[in-house]
């Protein structure tokens, strides 16, 4: 990896020298010679992209949340009116409930199943690749295709796909998406199908790195299968389990695709989630959106999620350094 050609600038080693002297020299000229420009050139894409597409919009979100603006008339300062308006919307509490319900069901369906599957698959001795591939296959299907396909499977009435199959064993027909109490579990079921494979593979990767010596030691102590899983496997997975848990919470709090495409929030608002509500505030009224209310609600959601993000960050930091 030796580089023999002469560099365009003779003084590129300056940073090292400067670091060696402890204090950088002062003055624009020395900044230039010290490679300050190069740093800036390399940082430029980051600064521009983050500046325009991340930092500025975040600041703008805060500003817009205290303005009334619909892109048509000039924005006016309204203080906390947007927050008050959103908090007074009866649909907000419905949306919060629905989102929590989605998160709860997603944990109920999506948390234990991949864990059990992964622990079992870890013991497979032949063709484990086949198991992994089959489990992962749904993840490869483009999510929108998965939703549209399941929407068709869920067709109500006796001629729906699922209802036909269940009809063979004398069950149903069930309403699936067409009933306020069935709709949300149906959404979560489809989302779990589309996502569980990824979680299985993550657990499987974590399981592979459980040191064999731990099992050996447990066996020396006379531990049976269940005790080995309980005392060796699960504790070893703790870190990964925590991470997937928190990421799932953060992800499900922002669920949009499924309610938007499956039900549009129906029936009777049973699947309106917080993000769908934000979308509706901003984009649904055909005469112009209420962008102030939309950003106010998204900031409130962000405040809640920031708690989880910090928790996650601390956990993973301590976990990965331990």
């Amino acid at each position: 990896m030796t580089v023999t050609t002469t560099p365009p600038r003779g003084d590129v080693a300056a940073p090292t020298r400067a670091a060696g002297t402890g204090r950088p020299r002062r003055g624009p000229a020395s900044w230039w010679r010290g490679g300050g420009l190069h740093s800036l050139v390399f940082l430029l894409p980051l600064l521009v992209i983050f500046g325009v597409f991340s930092w500025f919009p975040i600041v703008r979100a805060v500003i817009m949340s205290v303005q009334e603006t619909n892109l048509v008339t000039d924005p006016t300062f309204v203080g906390l009116d947007n927050f008050r308006h959103v908090l007074a919307d009866p649909l907000l509490w419905k949306a919060v409930q629905n989102t929590l319900y989605f998160a709860f069901l997603a944990l109920l369906f999506g948390y234990p199943v991949p864990l059990v599957a992964a622990v079992l698959m870890r013991e497979v001795r032949r063709a484990r690749g086949l198991y992994s591939a089959l489990a992962y296959l749904p993840v490869v299907v483009p999510p929108v295709v998965a939703v549209l396909l399941w929407k068709f499977f869920y067709k109500g009435g006796p001629t729906g796909v699922f209802n036909t199959v269940l009809g063979w064993v004398g069950l149903g027909p069930y309403p699936w998406l067409q009933d306020a109490s069935w709709a949300m579990p149906s959404l979560v079921l489809a989302a779990t199908w589309a996502g569980a494979g990824g979680t299985v593979i993550i657990y499987l990767a974590a399981l592979t790195s459980v040191p064999a010596e731990l099992y050996d030691a447990a066996e020396v102590d006379g531990a049976g299968l269940w005790r080995k899983i309980w005392h060796v496997t699960l504790p070893q997975l703790r870190g990964v389990l925590f991470i997937t848990l928190i990421l799932q919470v953060i992800g499900t709090a922002q669920v949009f695709l499924e309610p938007y495409l499956f039900t549009g929030g129906g029936p009777n608002n049973a699947t309106v989630t917080v993000l769908l509500l934000i979308y509706r505030y901003a984009f649904q009224n055909s005469l112009g959106g209420d962008y102030g209310a939309a950003t106010a609600l998204s900031l409130m959601l962000a405040a809640v999620l920031a708690v989880f993000s910090v928790l996650y960050f601390r956990l993973t930091r301590s976990w990965s350094t331990s």
Binding site: M1, G160, Y312, R317
Partner: protein, 314 residues
């Protein structure tokens, strides 16, 4: 939103897992355990059951989709589980390909993924290099600002970012209906920058010094030394970038209104109500075939990427 939990260099887990797949490989059950009939039959039976379940759940829906792709619409509607009572409708596929023009939307999806990938790689490598290797004084401020965006969920950006795309600074024209509207914001991924920066942090400093002594400037150092050493992390970032772009729905839905440049994820729902059901399901099938084929060919890469995803992201 994605967060980086890792302070470790990335190659370590992969390197550690690879040998584990060989003879040292064991789960909770030991070889002696397996010789016990109860375990053998119990676990063996469970595994067969698991396999059957996986086939039904993982493969079943896709086989059904393949069947519907060539089933006449009226049969799909009336007898969804009957096996071709009125023959096979190959014309569904032909109409999906020609009338619905699935191939065009497929290519749009590919372009979106490639551009987002390029944008993320450029920002992450140049930014990571500046922050990790060149280390300007203000680097820490920049890093803190980048880091802070990880605590802001994507939803906050939805509306203000949309308005920024409508009227971007300095450009003077809306980016709506242009691939740039998706490509450029994709580059603002704090997760990638930190991932790459941490990787660079762990590269041996001596190599940089040696290169500098040999007279390499910062550009040559970046291009000829740092980048070649970063293939593993670039691979990880690439996998995440492409998968994220592939799955994206809400953002392209907002900014790509022109059907000519929409990806599959936006186009398919738009034509759902105006396309014959058989043809529509054939379109879904075609949209699924390529990723599935790619997966089957590059299975190892996908699964390793997904496993890694757990270690870094989820």
């Amino acid at each position: 939103m994605t967060l980086s939990p890792t302070d470790r260099p990335r190659p370590a887990p992969t390197a550690r897992r690879r040998p584990a797949a060989d003879d040292g490989d064991r789960g909770a059950l030991s070889a002696p355990d397996w010789r016990r009939p109860a375990v053998r039959w119990g676990m063996g039976g469970t595994h067969v059951l698991l396999l059957v379940l996986l086939v039904v759940v993982g493969l079943g829906p896709m086989l059904l989709l393949a069947k519907y792709a060539v089933t006449p619409t009226q049969d799909i509607l009336r007898t969804p589980m009957a096996l071709f009572p009125h023959g096979v409708a190959w014309e569904n596929l032909e109409r999906a390909w020609n009338d619905v023009q699935i191939s065009r939307y497929f290519m749009n999806t590919v372009w979106l993924a490639l551009g987002s990938w390029a944008s993320q790689i450029v920002v992450a490598t140049t930014g990571g290099y500046a922050l990790s290797v060149l280390r300007p004084r203000y680097g820490r401020v920049v890093q803190a600002l980048v880091l802070s965006t990880m605590f802001v969920p994507a939803v906050v950006l939805l509306v203000p970012l949309y308005l920024t795309i409508l009227d971007p600074p300095l450009l003077g024209r809306s980016l709506v209906d242009s691939f740039w509207a998706v490509w450029l914001p994709a580059g603002a991924s704090a997760f990638n920058v930190l991932l790459v920066q941490r990787f660079f942090d762990n590269l041996p400093r001596e190599v940089f010094e040696a290169a500098r002594v040999d007279g390499a400037g910062p550009y040559r150092l970046f291009w000829s030394v740092v980048l070649p050493m970063s293939k593993p992390i670039l691979g990880v970032v690439s996998v995440f970038a492409v998968i994220a772009a592939w799955k994206d729905f809400l953002w392209p839905l907002l900014v790509l209104k022109d059907p000519a440049i929409q990806p599959l994820s936006v186009r398919l729902p738009a034509i759902e109500a105006s396309t014959d059901l058989g043809v529509f399901l054939a379109s879904l099938a075609i949209a699924t075939v390529l990723p599935v084929a790619m997966f089957l060919v590059f299975q190892r890469l996908f699964l390793r990427g997904a496993g890694l995803g757990g270690a870094v992201k989820g």
